[in-house]
Symmetry: C2
Subunit: 203 residues, 2 copies
């Protein structure tokens, strides 16, 4: 496409590097900004630069934070459970359920030999150290994706924690709420039968 201006072209080029945004959406966003007050674009630019330059990761749980000590220790959380997730959005999703009040550990990825990501590229050693050095930890909950890579990562972590006294659990795999039995794939159905739980009349 031929752009009316070099400045527009550069902006479109940079915006369209973001995931899920093509050239056409990028152009729409750039032209939208031109119609808004200049302060809005300035604020956006500053917020992005600020985020990228000043963000910290908590030294303990590796969650994104404003300081190197995140709120994971200071809040009134259950310090006997650590939930292991792949990335920060997972932390937010689990927190939003309101069903979990323990600590977190963000791996920053999952073991994926195909992509050249081995156990050393994710924060597994740091998890093992954390579990071993903190006697308060009684359980590690693996909340990983139900994919080949997620399962590989889960197996590896479980193996590394075998010698410790902590209980290693995983979030349940089964039919999603609202899902019809008829349309559920065999593997999910088989897993949901083998890991069946006692029926509760409370929920």
């Amino acid at each position: 496409m031929e752009y009316p201006s070099k400045l527009v072209e550069q902006a479109v080029e940079e915006i369209s590097k973001l995931p899920g945004i093509g050239k056409k959406t990028a152009l729409r966003l750039a032209l939208h900004m031109l119609k808004q007050p200049q302060a809005q674009t300035t604020n956006l630019s500053e917020a992005l630069t600020n985020l990228r330059q000043n963000i910290k990761y908590c030294g303990t749980c590796h969650i994104i934070a404003d300081t190197e000590e995140c709120t994971c220790k200071t809040l009134s959380r259950d310090t006997s459970v650590i939930c292991v997730v792949e990335d920060t959005p997972d932390v937010l999703a689990i927190r939003n359920t309101g069903q979990y009040n323990g600590l977190f550990h963000v791996l920053g990825g999952r073991i994926s030999p195909m992509d050249g990501i081995g156990p050393d590229n994710v924060k597994i050693d740091s998890l093992v150290d954390r579990v071993k050095s903190d006697a308060a930890v009684k359980e590690v909950v693996l909340a990983l994706s139900s994919t080949m890579e997620g399962d590989t990562t889960a197996f590896y972590i479980a193996k590394m924690l075998r010698d410790t006294p902590v209980k290693v659990s995983t979030i349940a795999r089964g039919i999603p709420v609202g899902g019809e039995l008829e349309y559920t794939d065999e593997i999910t159905l088989a897993r949901s039968i083998s890991t069946r739980t006692l029926f509760s009349t409370e929920n």
Copy 2:
């Protein structure tokens, strides 16, 4: 939603002000940037600020440009036709068809009394001046949306140009290419019959 960091929250706040981007997409974009090299975010911020601060509008046709004299006059264009459009994306869309080689005039909006936009808020006076002062102009093509506001704007422009010798035409309204007659609404069908054209075996 509770964010893990004030910086993330600010970035999400600013990104989600863009059209079509909600808080969830904004969060995904912000976290994506954290995984990319810092230069990418810096480039994006600079391109946006640069665009917003340094963009110019051509004094004649009001197209977005890098200087106040756009390429509208220098290129080998047909200077006897002016195509009137609402906004810059329309210029790009029409140029991309390869069917039009004349000049453009960007109104910067359309008359919409409901939104408080009157004839004085769009560049209609400037179009009339342009037509009157340039004897080379023989035709004005109205390429406006086929909506109430687009039609109102078209009528107003046609009225303003009534005393000039230029021909005022409008792009054809009818069944879109690929459209089925059966599913076309009555008004479009009626318009396509009343404005029927001679059948050509050439296209």
